[in-house]
Amino acid sequence: MNPELRRNLWLELPLRRMAFMTGALVLIFFAASLSPAVWGGPGDAAVLFYYLIVVMWGSRNAALSVVGEIRMRTWDGQRLSSLSAGQMVWGKLFGSTLYNWFGGAICLIVILADTFNRQGAGDAAIALAYYPIIGVIAQSAALLASLIAAGRDKSHSRLDVFLYQMAGLFAALVAYWIWTASDPSSAFLRHRPDLLGIGWWGMRTEGHVFLLASLAAFAGWLLVGCHRMMRVELMMRNGPLIWVGFLAFVGGYIAGFDGVYLARAGVRFGNAEMRLLQAGVAFAVLGYLMVFLEPKNSVLYRWMAGQFAKGKIGSGLSALQSWTMAYFAVLMCAIALIVFRGAAGDGTGQAQIAAMLGFFTRDLALVMLIGMSARLHGDLFGVVMLAGLYLLLPMILQGVQLSGALVLFEPREIAPVWLSPAIAWSEGVLALVFAAASIKRADNRRNEE
């Protein structure tokens, strides 16, 4: 047995705790059977308590599985053990939540019996798949959030743990929504007949099948993410391939949708361009997400710069952060789109795409700069800065009848056509120069010590 699982078994499942959980749930189901008007019967009570025990409480325990070790000062000992990253992830994910799964299993038995009686064996089989999956999704998302935070050397207050738990609950909520929405008889699909068949890479797929397959795929990526972050905690190096694979998956997944929404929004691109644009937007979202999630470590950047300066390109690239790869993916899409637009003789479209890329560059560089400079809450300042640039300042400018100045903050169709990208790139380059100068200044300071 996985030693981490065994240790958790010792800690989490002593007989008295098992007896308590069993007794409490039996009492609840008994009460539910006596007053179905209040509880909706034992089956409904079991569903409610399954979500409470496995999803809500379980995601908290999963979030605490690493954070708790850090707090108890046992994490170093675990990092130095011979346990592989895979063993550690499984041991933590299912070990720290053993008690929750024990209670969940009792609830699941009641849920299955109730579903079987009311809806038959087919639905009971589906419930048997769905409930464990949603538990795993919630808990693995919470574990992933806590591992990302551990990698950033964050403090681990109760509020932090609550936030990691919320990440798990959010993932579970999305999964729940997809699951309920994917039911062909659900209110959602009844009102959205266009989604009964989803167009993806030119194929028409049944909506619920597609949504469930998507759910399974992203749940798998969550587990991969936990494994990768655990490797980092165990001081193992992660090559870029898995992240590049994830980018390719997300790009391919998003690009696959027939661009109904963009067409409705007035984008008049050809099929290939539309798919490129969708992939590019997905990469940009991942770029923004990762630049906030990854540590803004000036020491690492200086080290990388040093490696490149010494000609150790491979060594320097080995420390490349995920957001840089997302940036390059955006860059590739943008260049391809500019070429496409050029072929179509659409100079304005080219300028818009170039301007978007310029602002994207500026944003990432500014978030980096603020993250490196601020001692505390750098990411929060970064979010505030982006909100200021994209919401507050444009609103003020419009309020004072200076809409012309909006070109400073967002891509605009103005004459001459090159002005918007020129401004965007000026800001982007300036932000990059400031970020690089900040790293250089730190380097000089250290060398003087």
């Binding site: 030693p3 981490e4 065994r6 240790r7 010792w10 800690l11 070790e69 108890m72 000062r73 046992t74 170093d76 000992g77 675990q78 990092r79 130095l80 053990s81 011979s82 346990l83 165990l234 001081m235 193992m236 470590n297 000036s298 020491v299 200086r302 080290w303 040093g306 490196m372 001692r375 250290r446 010590e449």
Partner: protein, 305 residues
Amino acid sequence: MIDVCDLVYEYPARRALKGVSLSVAPRTITALVGPNGAGKTTLLRCIAALFVPYSGRVTIDGLDTRASPRQIHGLLGYLPDFYGLYDGLSVRRILTYAALSHGIDRDAAPAAADKAADRVGLTDRLEVTAGELSRGLRQRLAIGQTIVHEPKVLLLDEPAAGLDPQARRDLSALLKSLKDAGMTLVVSSHILSELEDYCSEMVIVENGVVAGGQSVKVRDVERPRYMLEIAEARGDLCEFLDARAGIDVIEADEYHALIVHTRNPAARARLIRDLVAAGFEVSSFGESSKAMEDAYFRNIGGGAA
């Protein structure tokens, strides 16, 4: 066993190690000393492959910490300054878990746990939970779980902090026994007197560098330091000792001499006899107990006062 070459480590706000180089021979106990904030813990964590150095390299048994961190983790045991235990588990379960998690197979793990418990003197408390142990016993248990897999290298950060005199003495005996069993130990502390008991080498870290540029040999098992005192002043004390074969005079004045001499009892008896025969009124002759402290203050910058 441990080689550190020009090691630089940086935190985002400061450079903690500024080119540390040192070498630790196998089967020795090396003291890592220095003022608070000097970089001792950072150095230990770099050696433990828990920190990736900015530049320079650390090798343990020929393995580079940057290239092979996981292999190095398997070679060593590390007890941080602030460690934790699973308070709800018994001593036996904690040691068994430590054995299993260090790759000892299921059949051999109980025996490994028993052996570790025996080494740290917890055999009679195997069924007691960690939460019920005293501070000294918790310390032993913490060391027990770091040695359960028989590591080649043991890194201990402030292991004696907060221990009572008896527990410190026990710890000292335990560390000596681990060295005798073939382990290489690096012990960080700022309590020099306790290190004196078991360390043969000392590395002084001050402001992120090794003071004096290298480790200091503070104790030679075969040729220890002896302090000689005479009751009446004699200007020729140093000259007399220098003239004798097998004696190295470290420092001397008219009343005292700090010398290095063989541990052989017969040779020591002969020296005392010759001193008395030469008219020196020997009032005291014994192994120096302040070798480490002397070496520390000789090497540390500005600390001589």
